[in-house]
Amino acid sequence: MPADRPALRRTEPPIAPDAAAHASLRYIRDTMARTATFTAVPGYGGVAMGATAVAAAVWAARQPTVSGWLSVWSAEALVGATVGALTLVRKARTNGVPLLSGPGRTFLLGLLPALLVGVALTLAVYAAEVVQTGQTYAVQGVSRSLTLHLLPGLWLMLYGAGVVSAGMFSVRLVPAMGGLFLLVGALALAAPARFADVSLGVGFGGLHVVFGVLIARRHGG
C-alpha cells in the first residue's frame, strides 16, 4: 500500500468503516510508540552516568584488592543504573510518553538480559577466584588475579550488546554507541590487566559523556 494512502477513504467501499477506523487507531498507536522509543533516550543522563564512571575508574584504580575494586564498580553500576533510570523517567514524563506500556518496556527488555548475564558472570568469576585462592575475600590486586581482569572487557561487551539491542528502535546514536562499547570491550580483553580501569573509564565514562552530549544536542536532554 502506498505510504501516503489515507487510513480511511470514503471511496474504498470494500473496507468496513469500523475496520478502517480500527486500522487508523492502530497506526496512530504504533507510530506514537515507535516515536516515543525513538526519542526517550536521556542525553544528560548519559553525561551524568559517564561522569560517575570516570570518578569510579579513578577510585577503583587506587583499590589494592580485588574485593575493593569490585565493590567500587558494583556501586558505580548501581549509581549509573539509578541515574539512567531517573533521567529516562524524567524525559519520558516531560514528553508525556508512557514508560512501561511501550518505549520503556522495549528498551528495558533489550538491555536487561545482557546486564543480568553480566551480573551472573561477575558473581561466578568472583566465586571461582575466592575458591581458587582459598581466601574468604579476593585480597590480591586486580592485575594479579586469576580471571577477574577479564571482567572489564566482558562488562563492556555485554553492555554494548544490550545497548545495540535496546537501541534498535532508538536514535541511530544509541546503537552506534553500543557498537563502540563492543569495540572498546574487545580491546580491553586483549589489553594487559593493568589497563582494566582505563578501559572501563574510556567505555563507561568517555563513551557515555560523548554520546550523551550528542544525544542531548540532537534529541533533547
Binding site: A3, D4, D18, L25, I28, M32, N95, G96
Partner: protein, 115 residues
C-alpha cells in the same frame, strides 16, 4: 502496489460509502497523520529522525510537513548544531487538538458501526 482485496470488479457496483463523521482533511492523510502522531508522542523531533521513524523520503516528508505547518498544526525550527543545519518539527496546541479530534472521530465511526 494494489492489494488483491482492493480490486473491485468493473461488473460489481461499488457499495455506497457509509456515513462517517466529518474528518479533518489535513489530518486525514496517512503521512500527515503519522507525522502528527509522532510529534505529539515524541515532542520536538528532527527532520532526520522523523524521516527514519516514518520511513519517508525527504521530499514526501517536506511536502506533508509544509501542509501541516500551513494548517498551523506544527511548527518548523531551523538552526545549526555546530556547522550542521538542523530542522526540527514540533506539534502545536492546534495540532494536538486536531489529532485528538481525529481520534474522537475514529471512535465515533466505530460506535456508529456497532450500532
Amino acid at each position: 502496489m494494489a492489494r488483491p482485496t482492493d480490486r473491485v470488479s468493473p461488473r460489481t457496483p461499488a457499495r455506497p460509502a457509509p456515513a462517517v463523521p466529518d474528518l479533518d482533511a489535513v489530518v486525514h492523510q496517512r503521512v500527515r497523520l503519522g507525522i502528527l502522531s509522532a510529534l505529539v508522542a515524541g515532542g520536538a523531533t528532527s527532520f532526520t529522525d522523523l524521516r527514519t521513524v516514518l520511513s519517508l523520503t525527504d521530499g514526501n516528508l517536506s511536502v506533508h510537513a509544509r501542509k501541516l505547518e500551513e494548517a498551523g498544526y506544527i511548527t518548523v525550527r531551523k538552526r545549526f548544531a555546530g556547522r550542521v543545519p538542523l530542522t526540527e518539527f514540533e506539534a502545536t496546541d492546534a495540532g494536538r487538538a486536531a489529532l485528538h479530534g481525529y481520534l474522537d472521530a475514529m471512535e465515533a465511526v466505530i460506535r456508529v458501526a456497532r450500532g
